[in-house]
Symmetry: C2
Subunit: 522 residues, 2 copies
């Protein structure tokens, strides 16, 4: 058996069963191997950023890695921004990056580049395969690396001859690594802080945001009068009816620092102390008050759920009744279409166990609070700040859980980065509804321009943040790639289109034409 086939069988032996592909010549033996096995589903995309974003979404929902198959250094480069997001989400992802045959590298042919150098900044684990015989065990190591909790980016570089040369038997199933337990002192320390009467904030992310983790945290918070927060951008957050709530830290520093200004103590669980997304002239980078005592109950890789359970026990809060969200709809708007009317329809019609992929940026600011008491759902956010994650991540989420409706909320600017995603949605007939907030500008940047104190707000400057010349036609883009598209210009139109989209399967796109004026900002 050649290296490619032994690689493939090693991956499927270890539970990797989906490959998001955009291959080239150097990956042809891996393509052929995928074609010959029945156990690996192959999903083609027209651009590598779609593959990596899809692997991110798959990892967040499936809790195990898919693989990508990308074409040498440039293929990795095109997928790199969404790997950055996946890395910040701590998603499990395996990248298979083809490379020139080991003996061909020295010629520095046109497609040659420093693949390891390109891989390191976006990976937790990188290895370049030495020969076909090593390939199966390298692949098994990659799966283990990707499965380090909550998840890691493992990048395996596969020179072409390692794929086509004769190899050895595939590796069987390896044990998936468990998240290590925090030590008992860490729990005792947290319990002491929660018992000393000082105002305390508990900030959570990653493994501290499972449905069960949130229940433990709710008992802790009630018992000790602490306030629960989660990071602004989280990999996955269970929300809606029957879930325990957690406040989300605001994006803008002015608001976030206010939210936790009262805290004398901060306990982090599965995350670190909160800092600004960007620096601004003359503003602080740390969101917590000066002198605030900080204790890390569990770091990102530790078993945060067990730590919170331990804390419940230590505090004796096991019998504390949970504050579970009721089901409550905000009601629909009529008249003008607006971020609020969309948020209301969204909350009203979101079906049970939907997955929300949010890259709505400024225009979606009301969708999050209004869904607090919607049907139970999972909320996925842009963890790494690199726009263009929403459409690809929706693909991966839909592949990981085909029975769920995926709703993708997207700003128009960000959606254009990986617009090729629509074609894969059509090809795979995925159950995804995309809502485009078409305000025809990079509105967040017009706000940021004012916030950073940049002086020029003249036409030439604002043109660099404007998308209205010419207007993009997202319905046309969707139709051109095989996805049904609809344009909503009133609240009623949107309400009807969205209600229908929630009831009918298959990919579709609704372009909500907004006219959000921020001209007063200057």
């Amino acid at each position: 058996m050649n290296g490619a086939m032994s690689l493939l069988k090693t991956l499927t032996n270890n539970g990797v069963e989906v490959c998001f592909t955009n291959p080239g010549t150097s990956e042809m033996h891996m393509v052929a191997a995928i074609g010959q096995t029945g156990e690996m589903r192959s999903i083609l995309s027209l651009f590598e950023g779609v593959c990596t974003g899809a692997a991110d979404g798959y990892g967040r929902i499936a809790g195990k890695p898919a693989c990508t198959l990308l074409h040498l250094g440039p293929g990795l480069s095109n997928g790199s921004a969404n790997l950055h997001n996946a890395r910040k989400a701590n998603s499990p992802v395996i990248n298979l990056i083809g490379d020139h045959a080991t003996y061909h590298k020295k010629y520095d042919a046109p497609l040659n580049s420093d693949v390891i150098g390109l891989a390191k900044p976006v990976s937790h684990w990188v290895r370049s395969v030495a020969d076909a015989v090593s390939l199966p065990s390298d692949a098994a190591d990659a799966v283990v690396a990707a499965n380090i909790k909550p998840g890691q980016i493992a990048t395996l570089i596969v020179p072409a001859d390692c794929a086509w040369d004769e190899s050895v038997d595939p590796i069987g199933q390896r044990a998936t690594p468990l998240a290590p337990l925090v030590n008992a002192d860490s729990i005792t320390k947290a319990a002491e802080m929660l018992g000393n009467g000082k105002p305390t904030v508990i900030l959570m992310s990653n493994l501290a945001l499972t449905e069960q983790s949130l229940r433990f945290a709710d008992q802790v918070a009630q018992h000790s009068n602490a306030r629960l927060f989660c990071d602004t951008f989280t990999s996955r957050l269970p929300r809606g009816e029957g879930r325990c709530s957690v406040e989300r830290l605001a994006y803008f520093a002015e608001q976030a620092t206010l939210q936790i200004a009262h805290a004398e103590q901060l306990i982090t669980v599965g995350t670190k102390a909160p800092v600004g997304f960007f620096a601004y002239p003359g503003k602080v980078g740390e969101f917590y008050p000066e002198g605030c005592e900080i204790h890390a109950l569990a770091d990102v890789h530790e078993d945060a759920e067990a730590a919170l359970q331990g804390l419940v026990a230590e505090l004796g809060a096991q019998n504390q009744a949970l504050r579970l969200n009721p089901l409550r709809y905000p009601g629909l708007s009529t008249g003008e279409i607006s971020p609020e009317s969309i948020a209301r329809a969204f909350s009203e019609f979101l079906p049970t166990d939907a997955i929300v992929v949010d890259e709505s940026a400024t225009a979606g600011f009301l969708t999050y609070p209004l869904t607090e008491t919607a049907e139970p759902h999972d909320w996925l956010s842009l963890t790494g700040g690199s726009i263009g994650y929403g459409l690809p991540t929706s693909i991966g989420a839909a592949v990981a859980r085909p029975e769920a409706k995926v709703v993708c909320l997207h700003g128009d600017g960000g959606a254009m980065y990986t617009i090729q995603s629509l074609w894969t949605m059509a090809r795979e007939q995925l159950d995804i509804c995309i809502v485009i907030f078409a305000n025809r500008k990079y509105q967040i940047l017009q706000i940021e321009l004012a916030r950073v104190g940049a002086q020029s707000m003249n036409k030439k400057t604002l043109d660099m943040l404007d998308l209205s010349n010419p207007d993009l036609d997202f319905v046309g883009l969707a139709n051109s790639m095989g996805v049904a598209g609809y344009k909503a210009t009133t609240a009623n139109e949107f309400n009807l289109m969205f209600e229908r989209a929630m009831k009918e399967p298959g990919p579709r796109l609704i372009e909500a034409i907004l006219d959000v004026d921020v001209s007063g900002l200057g």
Copy 2:
């Protein structure tokens, strides 16, 4: 004056007058500075790969750098594949990459990454600015680095505080570095080889492919009975009526090795000895015959034109009459649309001094030979092999030479990588005509699959190389981004559409629907 403004003025003082932008918050002071100066033209794109590809095209035609303005590590990543192509083209490019404020890096905020690590594999020169005071001289150094002949990728990382802090005066004009002359021994050696009667091939690229270089080379070749070749993929090649011809080395190893199988001597000028684009099982990587003597007359950075001129003098070939291409049209086809009918119309109607940007891959194989005697034109190719360069590079070429018609020949698969380019073409009303060869597959990969000896050619395998489910509608895509689109399904339709496109200004797209069957390959 703040750092951003002094940076901008330093760039414009040094002849940098176009910026291809896709900025974010960390670049807002640079955006404001561009907005305040009249000397820097700013061109917005919806994706960073468009910016970098455009800078490549601009550099190839203008012979001097434009700059890009990109958003931290992920913005650089999205532009990285086309920087790879630009690096292999030796194009002059300056990247301005925003980064977190120097004092904010330590927080490892969501958008933080190893920007230097991401930049190195795609740059010849990388520097991260230390403070606002250093910024102007760093910018001047970047311009000098980019202008090392034929051109280099210079990446300047600009932390946000270096842009907004008080800086010093901008740097005035620095001298542009000249290409060093080759030493006399190198010319003497080449002359000796050319005089010894052995069959000799001269392989040229980069600075050896100026119109004047080709004239010198033609005199050398006639005088010494040598054969002239150029690399398969060249940054820019002057062709057509009144130019001296040079044979292009074939892409496939089987053909390329045959082309130069007779050579006992190889003289390289502005390039290196030819090797395979990829390795294939059991095939050689080097294209030249075993035992062939190789002499590098001029390396990539040396003054190849002067070296060829010196060689003409050493051989006493100054009075050799030039073999200039005549103007000869191949005539139009009627009936079925095909690669040949398109190539004929293309050669017939290509206007004087057009710029051809070629990413036509398999379907365009006839356009190159049939334009040998077309109107004089420049031919730009995919130097780094990373598909998705054609549309962005066309933007840069059109900006650099607004009086020229730019014709972009593009495969359908490759065009989808940076399809967002269409919007910028519409926004700037650039005089670009795009021809999409819509064969609805990655045809080159179906060929390569057979060539690498991969065994499986079943449906699952071929699906990974297929673009027909669903069909892409390029006319719809163009219209959705403000570009006029036309679909051609017969030779006559294409002939009329293309003729008209050559006569009318402004961006337009012609989708040529091809039905190229390669099913016999398995």
